[in-house]
Symmetry: C2
Subunit: 439 residues, 2 copies
C-alpha cells in the first residue's frame, strides 16, 4: 500500500449506513484511480460502526466499534463522518480537528448549529474541514460558492434543497392529491422517513440555508437564525390557486443579501428563510421535480446560475464525500490547506417581519356590494399595495383572490389576520408568498 | 496598500477589452472585499494594453503597452491573461509560469492547443494555472469537474458551450427562419462576430470540448482530436423534421468515456466531438435557449448533474476570472498550490467512425412500390438496424423518414451515401445525429 516515497494518506470512516457503505465501496473499488488523483495512496484504515456483524461486505479487519479511538488515532490523517447527529459526533470531530486531522462531513445539522466551533478548531490546528455533501447531495455547490464565486458579490441563493418535500409537492401538483395522501405515498416509496418531521417541517432545509447563507455572504448564519415554515399546511387548494396564476408551489430555501437603508454595503443585512412559495412555472427552479435538488444563484457579475442534480441517496452523496476526501488528501500531500471559513462580513440577520414579500391570498367572501371596498381598505390601512385582485364565483362560492405588491412580511401577516376578522370574509382559504417575476 | 505583516499579492492584467475592462473595474471596486477573502491585499499593479489612450477609465499609472515587461516583472505575482490568441500569448504565459508566477487565463484556444506545454511549465515551477473562464463563461465548471467530482468516475459530458450558435439555433426553432437569416439577426444584435467562423463552424466549441474531456477523463485531448461539424448546414427542414419526432436541434460538445471491447477500464477510449444533434425536448439541455450555456454531466456515483448560466459577456467572464484570481492568491498566501494537470489515464482517442450514433434521415423518394424495400436493404447491407420508418406524402411529395438504432458512425455515413445513389431516392433532405433517450 505504499506510493513510492510519498507516505499514504490514511482514512478513517465513521458510519457505514446508506452513505457510508457507498463511500467504503468506492474507496475500495476505485483505489487505483483515487491514488493517481491524490498523488499518494489513499488507504482505508478503519470503519467505525455500531454493529460490525451487519457489515459482511466490509473487510472485517477494518471494522471497529470504537469511533473515539479512530478520531484519536495519530495514524489516521483524514476522518470521514457520515453518522450524523449532534452528539457525540461534535466531540468526535473536534478531537480529530484538534490533533490536526482533516475532516470531511455530510452533517448539515451539526454545521448549521456548531459550524463556528468546528471551524475555529480547524483553523487553530491548520486542518481542513470540508462538507460538500452537507447541502444538495452530489451537486457541486459549496466549492463553486466559496471558490468559483469568491471574486463576485452573491446577491441571492434560492434552492430546492430537500428532496422529500419536493417529491410531496410534485406529487400534489401532478395528481391533485392532498398533503396527507402525498406524504403517505412518499413514505411508501421510501422518499419520506417514518418520522418525517425534519423534512416536512423544514428543519433540514433550514440547516442547509444556514450553511449556504454563511458561505455565500461571508458571514455567520446559524440554524436558529433561519425563519422556517414547512409544507404541512400546503393544501390542494393552494396548489390549484397557484396554477390559476401561472405558478407552481415549491419549498424554497432563500438566502438574500438585503441592502441597508443608506445603500452602502456596510449597512447590508442577510435574510435566510425556508417556506413554501408560489413561483412562476417559467422559472428554472419550477421544473425541478421529484427528489431532485437545484440551487439558483444570482451574483452581481456572474448573473444567474443554476446547479441541478440528485440531492440525496447513498451513491450521489458518497460522490460528494469522495470529492472532498481527494481534495483534503491532495492538500496534505502538497503541504497546504483549502479555504478557511470566511466570515469577515459579519452581517446582521434581517428579522422575517422586515423581509419584503409578496403574498397571494384567497378569501371566501359574502356575495354583496362593498366587500371589495372593505378588503381593499384593510390592505390600505396596513400600507400594503395590491397588485391584482380577482373576483370569482357567485353566492356561496364568491371568492376574492388578491396578489400584493412587495411589503414587509409583518405588514402582510397582520393584514391577513385583519382580513379574517372582517364580517364579509367567511374564510381565508389560501395564503402563500409569491416569488420571482410574475408575468 | 499593505495588509499588515502579509505581503500584498500583485496582479498584472494582459488586455482590457470586453472582459479585461470588467476585471479591472471589479478589482478596483471590490478591493476591500477581495482583500478580506484572500487574506492579503490584492494589488492591481499593471494593465497591458495596445492603445492606452482608449482606456481613460483605467488609472494612467497602471497602463503599459509592454506586456512582455509585465510577465517578466519579478514583482508581479499573478498574471491575468484576457487578450486571447495563440501568439504571442503563449510565450507571454510561459515566461510568467517559468519564473513561478501564477496564471489565470480565459484562453480556450491556447489551452486546447498547447495546454500540456503550459501545464508542464506550471508544474516545473510549482505555479498555479487556472482557467475557469475558458469554458462556459461564468458557470463554475472546471473546478466542479476537477475537484468536486475528483472522487467519482465521469462517464459523459454534454454541453451547450457556444452562445452564438445556440442563439442562432434557438431563433431558427422559434421563428422557422433559415440559417442565413438567423445568422444575420445574430450579427445585427451583437451575438455573432463580423467573421463568425470560429463559432458557427464549431472551432470554439471544439476547443472547449478538448478542455472538458481532458479534465473529466484525466487524459490529454487536444483541439485537433475533436471531431467537428458546425451549424452552417442546418436547415429549416432539419428543424421541422426534429419537431416531428419531439426533438429540437442543438449544437453539442460531447465528451464520452467509451468502454473497450473487454469492458475493463484499462481498455477505455475517449470520444470528443462537436456536431448538431436532434435531442428530445424533454432533455434538460433542450430548454437552454438564446445565449445561455449549460453543461450536463453524467457520473457513475453522482448521477446526472447540470450546470447552467451565462456563457459569455464581459462581467460574467470577469466573475470567473476573479474567482480564479482569488484562489491563486490564497494559494500563494498559504504557500500551497491548486490541483495540477491530471492526465494519468492517457486514454486513446476513439475515431469518429467508431463512435456509436443514431441517425435521423429524411429522403425524398419516388412514390412507387419497392422503394421502402430498396432503402431497407441499403441499411441492412451496412449492418445498420432501423428503429422507426415513416412514409409521408404522395406523388412528388413522397418522403421517407428513418431513425436508426445505434451503429458505428462510419457505417451510418456510408449508408447515407449509398441511399443518395439509389434510383428511387430523389434527394437526401436531412441527415442529423439523434441523442438522448427517445420517448
Amino acid at each position: 500500500m505504499s506510493a513510492g516515497s510519498t507516505r499514504a494518506v490514511r482514512v478513517g470512516v465513521l458510519g457505514a449506513g446508506v452513505v457510508g457503505s457507498q463511500v467504503v465501496r468506492l474507496l475500495i473499488e476505485q483505489a487505483d484511480e483515487l491514488t493517481a488523483r491524490v498523488g499518494a495512496t489513499l488507504e482505508l484504515a478503519a470503519v467505525a460502526v455500531r454493529r460490525p456483524e451487519r457489515h459482511a461486505d466490509i473487510p472485517a479487519a477494518l471494522l471497529t466499534t470504537d469511533a473515539a479511538a479512530v478520531v484519536a488515532d495519530p495514524e489516521i490523517d483524514v476522518v470521514v463522518e457520515v453518522i450524523g447527529g449532534i452528539e457525540p459526533t461534535k466531540d468526535l470531530l473536534l478531537t480529530a480537528l484538534n490533533r490536526g486531522a482533516g475532516v470531511v462531513t455530510a452533517n448539515k445539522a451539526l454545521l448549521a448549529e456548531h459550524g463556528p466551533q468546528l471551524y475555529q478548531a480547524a483553523d487553530a490546528a491548520g486542518a481542513d474541514l470540508y462538507y460538500e455533501a452537507a447541502v444538495a447531495g452530489a451537486i457541486p455547490l459549496i466549492r463553486p460558492l466559496r471558490e468559483s464565486l469568491a471574486g463576485d458579490r452573491i446577491q441571492r441563493i434560492m434552492g430546492i434543497v430537500n428532496g422529500t418535500t419536493n417529491f410531496i409537492l410534485s406529487a400534489m401538483v401532478e395528481s391533485g392529491m392532498g398533503y396527507q395522501e402525498a406524504l403517505a405515498e412518499a413514505t411508501r416509496l421510501g422518499y419520506a422517513e417514518a418520522d418525517p418531521t425534519a423534512d416536512v417541517d423544514g428543519f433540514d432545509a433550514a440547516a442547509k440555508a444556514a450553511i449556504l447563507a454563511s458561505i455565500g455572504f461571508h458571514t455567520r448564519v446559524g440554524a436558529s437564525d433561519v425563519y422556517r415554515e414547512g409544507i404541512a399546511a400546503v393544501s390542494a387548494a393552494d396548489i390549484a390557486a397557484a396554477r390559476e396564476i401561472g405558478c407552481t408551489v415549491k419549498l424554497l430555501a432563500i438566502c438574500e443579501r438585503v441592502p441597508g437603508p443608506d445603500g452602502s454595503p456596510g449597512g447590508d443585512a442577510v435574510s435566510a428563510r425556508v417556506h413554501p412559495v408560489m413561483m412562476p412555472t417559467s422559472h428554472p427552479l419550477a421544473t425541478v421535480d421529484g427528489a431532485y435538488n437545484a440551487v439558483y444563484v444570482e451574483a452581481e457579475a456572474a448573473g444567474r446560475l443554476m446547479f441541478y442534480g440528485p440531492g440525496a441517496g447513498g451513491a450521489p452523496t458518497a460522490s460528494a464525500v469522495l470529492g472532498d476526501l481527494v481534495a483534503v488528501a491532495r492538500n496534505r500531500v502538497a503541504g497546504g490547506r483549502g479555504p478557511r471559513e470566511s466570515s469577515y462580513a459579519a452581517l446582521p440577520i434581517l428579522p422575517m417581519g422586515d423581509v419584503l414579500a409578496k403574498y397571494h391570498i384567497s378569501l371566501d367572501v359574502d356575495d354583496k356590494a362593498g366587500v371589495l371596498a372593505a378588503v381593499a381598505t384593510a390592505f390600505a390601512d396596513a400600507g400594503v399595495s395590491i397588485s391584482t385582485v380577482r373576483q370569482e364565483g357567485r353566492g356561496d362560492d364568491a371568492r376574492l383572490v388578491v396578489v400584493t405588491h412587495s411589503a414587509p412580511d409583518a405588514a402582510l401577516a397582520s393584514t391577513v389576520r385583519r382580513l379574517a376578522d372582517l364580517d364579509s370574509v367567511r374564510a381565508v382559504t389560501s395564503v402563500m408568498r409569491v416569488t420571482g417575476d410574475m408575468r
